[in-house]
């Protein structure tokens, strides 16, 4: 009776975070080829994402679909150790689809876009140094955006759309409670929720080949209610982790502001985008469990992210035949500050290079290929909360293909 053990098993609970790494820059294959620029261009239906103000200037009605199988290769070298842990090979498949319709050369067009601006898929396995911080994470925010675009005059057009987000998260983490064979317990948090926002853009077309675009995509507060909180622990301590249990968590997806320039010269097309993500919406992240115990408390983890810019450039050269060649690149600044980097996405400053190929197969049918290579700067970090200490290196490889039918 007196050797009473209070199972104060704190710091067991997962927290979901986003970082710059969770911004998925694969909204359209033509744009990826050009360094993911497009806010100041009129390329195709992906303008629904990049700048709804440009949609009305599209010459055709179109339907397009693209996918960018994303291979995220991260590795971790614990401080003072020669061990290297590689994340498991998982292929995320962020997709996008756009439809644009309106009378030819009219003053209006409508469209619908489906795209994934935020997401993450990483699996470190259950046997690595940071398993008590994270084993795996699968996070997706799918935006649906009906859009209206209107030409105001020869030079100015605007557009806007309502955004509905379907967000989902599935996170696993080891719990340091060994069973009789020495294996860890595991927590899994799984749920989905909805959020709402909007996307608006202004497009200015000058008479000297220069175009200017400005786009603002609002913050989308997504709330996960009744997510499943699954805890696998040894039977003798299961009562501390009531099952079934649910959780509630907010996943605020930050707003982005992008200024883009486009310039056409003969068969060349040049573009520059500057993108600003208001990451500071992540002051902290809180998890609220429906059933609490001494061992299972609600969590509140400070994140303190900082707003971050990314800079993108790209070019396209079109042959008089059916081919277009694209290249680009960019630099993305980190959002997670020192001490707050987690294995969910080992955020760091990064650069990327892209290439692309466009082929007009028929008068109405385009195929676009893209490839993006992203290299995150090596970052040595000790996380304030978990004290997980070591060096992260990450490379991302994103091939992509899209098919467009236009008429």
């Amino acid at each position: 009776m007196m050797r009473k053990i209070l199972l104060l098993l704190l710091a067991l609970l997962p927290a979901v975070t986003f970082a710059q790494g969770f911004q998925v820059n694969v909204a359209g294959q033509k744009q990826i080829g050009m360094g993911h620029t497009g806010t100041g261009l009129v390329q195709d239906g992906a303008s629904i994402f990049f700048n709804p103000g440009a949609v009305v200037l599209l010459p055709d009605n179109s339907v397009q679909a693209g996918v960018s199988p994303l291979v995220f290769k991260s590795a971790f070298n614990p401080s003072g150790s020669n061990d290297v842990y590689d994340s498991k090979s998982k292929v995320a498949t962020p997709f996008s689809g756009y439809a644009v319709f309106g009378p030819k050369a009219s003053w209006w067009k409508v469209g619908l876009g489906v795209y994934i601006p935020y997401g993450g898929l990483v699996n470190w396995g259950n046997n690595w140094a940071g398993k008590y911080a994270l084993e795996s994470l699968n996070l997706k925010a799918i935006y649906f955006q009906p859009t209206v675009s209107v030409r105001l005059n020869k030079n100015f057009s605007i557009g806007g759309g309502f955004v509905y987000n379907r967000g989902s998260v599935d996170l696993t983490r080891a719990i340091p409670l060994a069973n009789s064979s020495g294996a860890d317990g595991q927590a899994e948090l799984k749920g989905s929720g909805n959020g709402y926002g909007w996307n608006a853009g202004l497009f200015i077309k000058t008479d000297v080949g220069l175009s200017i675009g400005l786009d603002y995509r609002s913050k989308v507060n997504t709330t996960i209610n009744n997510g499943d909180a699954l805890f696998q622990v040894p039977a003798s301590v299961q009562a501390n982790f009531p099952q079934p249990n649910t959780f509630k968590a907010g996943l605020p997806l930050p707003s982005t502001t992008t200024l883009g320039l486009g310039y056409t010269y003969k068969q060349w097309l040049f573009a520059v985008d500057v993108n600003f993500v208001k990451w500071d919406v992540y002051k902290a992240l809180a998890f609220d469990y429906t059933s609490n115990t001494v061992a299972l408390q609600d969590t509140y983890s400070p994140r303190n992210y900082k707003n971050a810019f990314s800079y993108r450039v790209g070019a396209q050269y079109s042959l008089p035949t059916n081919w277009a060649f694209r290249a680009g690149g960019g630099y993305i600044m980190k959002a997670a500050q020192d001490g707050y980097v987690t294995p969910e996405v080992p955020d760091a400053d990064r650069y990327y290079l892209t290439g692309g190929l466009g082929y007009k197969a028929t008068k109405n049918f385009d195929i676009d290929l893209s490839f993006e290579y992203e290299r995150l700067m090596s970052r040595t970090q000790t996380n304030i909360e978990s004290q997980l200490s070591g060096t992260y290196k990450t490379n991302v490889y994103i091939p992509g293909i899209s098919l467009t039918y236009h008429w």
């Binding site: 009776m1 007196m2 050797r3 009473k4 053990i5 209070l6 104060l8 098993l9 704190l10 710091a11 291979v71 290769k73 991260s74 590795a75 070298n77 614990p78 401080s79 003072g80 150790s81 020669n82 061990d83 290297v84 590689d86 046997n127 690595w128 140094a129 940071g130 398993k131 008590y132 911080a133 080891a174 340091p176 409670l177 060994a178 069973n179 009789s180 064979s181 020495g182 622990v233 040894p234 039977a235 003798s236 301590v237 190929l357 082929y359 195929i367 290929l369 490839f371 290579y373 978990s386 004290q387 997980l388 200490s389 060096t391 290196k393 990450t394 490379n395 490889y397 091939p399 293909i401």
Partner: protein
């Protein structure tokens, strides 16, 4: 259609990039000014990998010397062989395991009694019964002997008195005459770790100051100097470790006087104090004990059967409840009272001063486990997403006996040794991953 073919070739080309992993440049391995080609470990139960009140195969396999040796092998260390129990006798001496929690939330422990390596029990005249274990005769780098004190290193008869030592010697109990000091130095070695001396104070403490005595300070210094002279006789480098504070272990911090009193008061709110049989002075030679109310400065052993509290005890004044009156105090062997705590602390401080001074005089590194474990007691330790504390069972570091460590506890100790070795000898032995080792097993 040729164009399509080209597109597919290009796609295949970019996909092969996907196989490329980020690479890390490993630092050039160096043993610095030390030579790890034959590392030996000198010490007691902690060195042997003792855990959960027993020595068994899994504990041996996770001993801190074996962890250090494995990491040393990445910078030129040699093979490290331990006197492991066989798979068939994997439970060695037997140990305790957690079988669950009772209704009040207290842990329930049960002994493991199968697959033992017990050979027999030998009565040694003038000493008593010695349990012997299946002999080990192969090569050996881990000389950790459970129960051994520094005081014993020169005793030629010790191979007859300690079954764990007898196990490593060729002769049967009663016939051995090799002193530990001669045994460990018989075969050449290039590097040593020495965590000897804990039991010179610990055995006194865990017996509540009743069943054992503290090793004399001067004797400790003489023997420690002798041990280190022999270990460094051929210019070997090594590492010594200080002795943890007895009050830093859950054995003394789990069942507290306040906890006992609170639970008694639940049943009987009028009870004002629990009584202990306490040493009357802090003088080591004094043998005067008297009953007095327990305070927060008194420590109750983890082994105290709390069910005894309140049970009737026959006294000249009639039957009185155990632990609740000055006539029926909690017995001495369950209590390290304030004076005994002070004594144990004083001796440990003295031993540690000796360890640091002798090691320094030989240019040998010292891992300050006293400070390390006291720091964990005070602040906990957060590492690799784990929050480790000195708490019993939930802390993750201490095994079920409240004195010895879990594999995870041994891993953090091994890392502490490695850091100290690297600092002293400019080597770069890589650290081990604490998350790879388990804490207490729950059913």
């Amino acid at each position: 259609m040729n164009n399509f073919k080209n597109i597919f070739i290009l796609t295949a080309g970019v996909l092969c990039f996907a196989a490329c992993k980020p690479e890390f440049k490993k630092p050039t391995a160096t043993s610095g000014t030390a030579d790890f080609s034959r590392y030996i470990a000198v010490g007691n139960s902690l060195t042997a990998g003792y855990a959960d009140n027993g020595l068994y195969l899994e504990g041996q396999q996770n001993s801190y010397p074996s962890i250090i040796a494995k990491q040393m092998q990445q910078v030129g260390g040699g093979t490290f062989t331990q006197p492991l129990f066989t798979q068939a006798q994997a439970n060695g001496s037997g140990y305790v395991k957690l079988t669950g929690f009772n209704a009040a939330g207290s842990p329930v422990l049960a002994p493991v009694t199968d697959q033992l390596a017990i050979r027999g029990v030998v009565p040694i005249p003038g000493f008593g019964n010695v349990t012997t274990y299946t002999k080990y005769s192969g090569d050996n780098n881990n000389y950790g002997i459970p129960g051994m004190k520094l005081l014993h290193i020169t005793l030629t008869a010790y191979g007859n008195l300690n079954g764990y030592y007898e196990r490593l010697l060729p002769g049967n109990a009663g016939t051995n005459s090799t002193a530990y000091l001669d045994y460990v130095t018989a075969k050449p070695f290039t590097f040593f770790s020495n965590w000897m001396g804990n039991n010179d104070a610990l055995l006194y403490a865990v017996s509540g100051g009743a069943g054992d005595v503290l090793t004399d300070k001067t004797t400790f210094t003489q023997l420690y100097t002798l041990l280190l002279s022999r270990l460094t006789a051929a210019g070997q480098k090594g590492i010594c470790a200080t002795i943890p504070d007895v009050t830093a272990i859950p054995y003394f911090n789990t069942v507290t006087p306040a906890l006992i009193l609170a639970s008694v008061q639940k049943a009987n709110p009028t009870v004002q104090a629990i009584f202990i049989n306490a040493k009357s002075s802090a003088d080591v030679t004094s043998t005067t004990y008297a009953a007095r109310p327990a305070t927060a400065a008194d420590m109750i052993t983890l082994t105290f059967p709390t069910s005894k509290i309140g049970t009737p005890v026959a006294t000249p004044a009639g039957n009185l409840p155990y632990g609740l009156t000055p006539y029926t105090p909690i017995e001495n062997q369950y209590v390290l009272d304030a004076n005994e705590v002070a004594l144990a602390k004083d001796y440990i401080n003295s031993y540690n001063t000796t360890i640091k001074a002798v090691a320094a005089s030989k240019g040998i590194a010292v891992a300050d486990m006293y400070s390390f474990l006291n720091d964990i007691k005070a602040h906990g330790l957060v590492v690799d997403g784990l929050t480790l504390t000195s708490n019993y069972i939930t802390g993750g570091i201490f095994s079920l006996d409240g004195v010895h460590l879990t594999p995870r506890g041994y891993a953090i100790v091994a890392n502490q040794f490695i850091k100290t070795i690297n600092a002293q000898y400019n080597s770069n032995i890589p650290l081990t991953g604490v998350a790879n080792y388990r804490g207490v097993k729950f059913p």
